[in-house]
C-alpha cells in the first residue's frame, strides 16, 4: 500500500445509482501523485461513471472523492473537512478538495482536474488554436478584467493573450499540430483530434488529468506516440494521470497502478503485472460467472 503522503486522489465508498440501476457500487481506490493509474474493466463496468463522478458531472449517490494539492495539508484533515460541510481547505502551499461537493466547472477551475471524453468533444467549428484558448478561459477572463478591460483595449489583456497563445503553441508543438493551428478542429483526422483534446485539457494546467479511452481508434504507431506523450506528461510536468483504457498493451506498458471494475464493483487493485495474472480479472474479461472462477483458475493453472 502506498504511503499516505504520496496520495493525490482518494475515492472512498463511491456509489452511483440511476433509478434501480447501480452503476458503481461501493468503490474505493487511491491514486498516487505522479503515477499513471489505470481504471479498466469490461464494457459497462461503470468506468466512465466513475470519471463523471470525479470530474463533477454526476453527483455520487454515496461516497467521498478527495483530491489534494501538494502535501501542505495532511490527509487527517479529511474528516474535519467532511464533517464541517465545506468544499475545501486551502493553504498557501496546498489544498484539499471534496470533489463530490463541487460542480464540474469548479472541479476544473479550482481543484485542477482536467478530462477528455470517450467520444471526443472538441469545438469542431473553431480552429485548433481557438480550442486551446478556450481552455485558458478563466485565466484570460481575469486578465480581461471580466471583459471590461478587454473591450476598452487595455494593453494588460493583450499581453495575457500573447502569453496564452505562447502556451498553446508549446502544446501544439508537443502534440505535433503546429502546422494545423488555423484549421477547424472538426477538419482534423481522428488521431489528431485525440491529441488535440489532450493538449486542450493540459492547457487548463491540471494536477490530475483524466483520460477516457485516449487510445481508442488509434493505429499502432499513433498509440505508441500516445504512450510517449503520456509518459512525458507524467515525468516532465509531474502530473498525475487517471486513465480509462481498453487497450491492454497501453495499460500494461505505461500504468503504474491498475484498478479493475466489473459491474460497478472493484475486483482487483494493484501493479500491472499482478493484475495480468489475477484470475478474477481474467474471468471478468472472459465473461465467466463468479462461481466458475475456480474452474477457470484450474484451467489456467493457478
Amino acid at each position: 500500500m502506498a504511503a499516505a503522503d504520496d496520495i493525490i486522489l482518494r475515492v472512498e465508498h463511491l456509489t452511483m445509482r440511476f433509478g434501480w440501476l447501480v452503476a458503481v457500487d461501493d468503490l474505493s481506490f487511491t491514486a498516487r501523485q505522479g503515477d499513471i493509474t489505470a481504471l479498466i474493466g469490461p464494457n459497462g463496468a461503470g468506468k466512465t461513471t466513475v470519471f463523471n463522478c470525479i470530474t463533477g458531472f454526476y453527483r455520487p449517490s454515496e461516497g467521498r472523492i478527495a483530491l489534494r494539492h501538494g502535501d501542505a495539508i495532511a490527509w487527517e484533515w479529511l474528516e474535519p473537512l467532511t464533517n464541517g460541510g465545506e468544499r475545501s481547505v486551502k493553504r498557501p502551499a496546498g489544498a484539499l478538495y471534496l470533489l463530490e461537493r463541487m460542480p464540474e466547472y469548479l472541479v476544473t477551475q479550482q481543484a485542477r482536474v482536467a478530462r477528455t471524453f470517450q467520444n471526443i468533444r472538441l469545438f469542431p467549428g473553431m480552429t485548433v488554436l481557438e480550442n486551446l484558448l478556450v481552455a485558458q478561459h478563466n485565466r484570460l477572463m481575469l486578465a480581461s478584467g471580466y471583459t471590461l478591460f478587454g473591450v476598452l483595449g487595455f494593453p494588460s489583456y493583450a499581453a495575457a493573450e500573447r502569453a496564452a497563445i505562447e502556451r498553446a503553441k508549446a502544446w501544439l508543438d508537443r502534440v505535433d499540430l503546429t502546422a494545423r493551428a488555423d484549421d477547424a478542429a472538426g477538419d482534423l483526422p481522428y488521431g489528431a483530434q485525440r491529441r488535440l483534446e489532450i493538449a486542450r485539457a493540459m492547457c487548463t494546467e491540471p494536477v490530475l488529468l483524466c483520460l477516457d479511452e485516449p487510445a481508442a481508434g488509434l493505429n499502432p504507431r499513433e498509440s505508441a506516440e500516445l504512450n510517449e506523450l503520456l509518459l512525458a506528461i507524467r515525468d516532465q510536468q509531474r502530473i498525475s494521470i487517471l486513465l480509462i483504457e481498453h487497450d491492454m498493451s497501453v495499460v500494461m506498458e505505461i500504468s503504474d497502478h491498475v484498478v479493475v471494475l466489473d459491474y460497478g464493483v472493484k475486483i482487483a487493485d494493484g501493479a500491472p503485472a499482478a493484475i495480468r495474472d489475477n484470475p478474477k480479472v481474467i474471468a471478468a474479461y472472459l465473461g465467466v460467472p463468479d462461481k466458475d472462477v475456480a474452474n477457470v483458475e484450474a484451467e489456467v493453472g493457478l
Partner: protein
C-alpha cells in the same frame, strides 16, 4: 361549489379542444423532433374550412338536420385540413429534414405567418360569427339561484373527443402505421433499413395531426360561434403547453395536459382575473419547463456525457 362545478364542466370542454390540438404537437415532435409552430394556425384554418362547409351545407344545400350537417362539416374539415398539412410538410419541412436544426423552426414560423395572413387576405380581417348551431342545455341543479348547466354543445364536444381519441388510440397502438410511427420515433435510419417507409409515415403523422386539429377547429367554431384569422396563435401556444405539461412525445400526456390547461384557465378566470388568464397558461408553461421538463408522463432525460 356550484361555480367550481360549472367551471369544471367548462374547463373539461375547453381542455378537450386543447388536447386534440396538443396531440398534433406531441406526435410531430415525437417523430421529427420539431416544434411545429404552424400547428396552431392549421387549427385556425380548419375552423375556417368548417365555417365555409357549414355555410355551404346550410344555406346552399339547405340541409336542415343539424346532426347531419355537423357530421358532414366535421368530415369535410378533416379532409381538407389534412390535405393542407400534408402539403405543408411536403413543401416546407421535408426539404429541411436532417438539415440545420433551426431551419425547420424558422420555416414553421414562416408558415404560421403565411397561413394567418392567407386567411386574412382571402377571408377578410373581421371576426366571423355564425348563429348558434346547437342550442339547449341540461340544468344539473340549482343552488342559490345559480344553475349549474351542461349544454348540448359541451356534451357533443365530450362525445366527439372521446370517440375520436378512441379511434386515434387504436390507430397508433394497433395498426401497422402506429408501429411504423413508433419505429421512426426511435431511429429513422434503422426503421428505413427494416423496410418502414419513413417519408410516408411522417406524412401520415402530419395528416393525423391535422385531422385531430380539424376536429378541434370544428368544435371550437360550434362552441364559440366565432372565429378570426388571428385565432391560431394563442390556442396553439396553450395546446403546446398542454403537450409539454403532459410530457412531450406522450399521447395520453397530451390529452391530460390539455384538460389540465383548460381547467387552469377556466378556474383562473373564475377565481382570479380574466385579463390575466393567458398569463396563467404561459406561466404554467414556463414553470413546467423549468421544474418538470419531462412533463407528467414523459421519460426523465439523463444527461449523456
Amino acid at each position: 361549489m356550484e361555480v367550481f362545478l360549472q367551471q369544471l364542466i367548462n374547463g373539461i370542454t375547453l381542455g378537450s379542444i386543447y388536447g386534440l390540438i396538443a396531440i398534433g404537437y406531441t406526435m410531430v415532435f415525437g417523430i421529427i423532433g420539431m416544434v411545429n409552430f404552424a400547428h396552431g394556425d392549421v387549427f385556425m384554418v380548419s375552423a375556417f374550412i368548417a365555417l365555409v362547409a357549414f355555410l355551404l351545407l346550410t344555406s346552399f344545400l339547405g340541409i336542415s338536420s343539424i346532426a347531419l350537417a355537423l357530421f358532414l362539416v366535421l368530415i369535410v374539415a378533416m379532409l381538407f385540413t389534412s390535405l393542407v398539412n400534408w402539403t405543408i410538410e411536403r413543401l416546407a419541412y421535408r426539404p429541411l429534414r436532417g438539415s440545420f436544426r433551426l431551419a425547420p423552426l424558422i420555416s414553421a414560423i414562416g408558415m404560421s405567418i403565411f397561413l394567418s395572413n392567407f386567411v386574412q387576405v382571402t377571408q377578410g380581417p373581421r371576426n366571423k360569427s355564425i348563429p348558434p348551431m346547437v342550442q339547449g342545455e341540461f340544468v344539473l341543479f340549482t343552488k342559490n339561484d345559480y344553475p349549474v348547466t351542461l349544454s348540448f354543445k359541451q356534451l357533443i364536444i365530450w362525445f366527439v373527443t372521446a370517440v375520436l381519441l378512441a379511434c386515434f388510440w387504436y390507430l397508433v397502438s394497433k395498426t401497422r402505421l402506429g408501429r411504423a410511427q413508433r419505429a421512426c420515433e426511435q431511429d429513422q435510419k434503422m426503421a428505413a433499413l427494416v423496410g418502414v417507409d419513413v417519408d410516408r409515415t411522417i406524412s401520415m403523422t402530419f395528416v393525423i395531426a391535422a385531422a385531430l386539429a380539424a376536429v378541434a377547429g370544428t368544435m371550437y367554431l360550434m362552441y364559440y360561434g366565432v372565429v378570426s384569422f388571428a385565432d391560431g396563435f394563442v390556442p396553439g401556444v396553450k395546446a403546446f403547453t398542454a403537450a409539454v405539461l403532459g410530457g412531450i412525445g406522450s399521447l395520453p400526456g397530451a390529452v391530460v395536459g390539455g384538460i389540465l390547461i383548460g381547467l387552469i384557465e377556466t378556474m383562473w378566470s373564475a377565481y382570479f382575473s380574466i385579463d390575466y388568464k393567458d398569463v396563467a397558461a404561459f406561466s404554467v408553461l414556463a414553470i413546467t419547463l423549468i421544474f418538470l421538463p419531462q412533463g407528467l408522463f414523459g421519460r426523465p432525460d439523463v444527461e449523456k456525457v
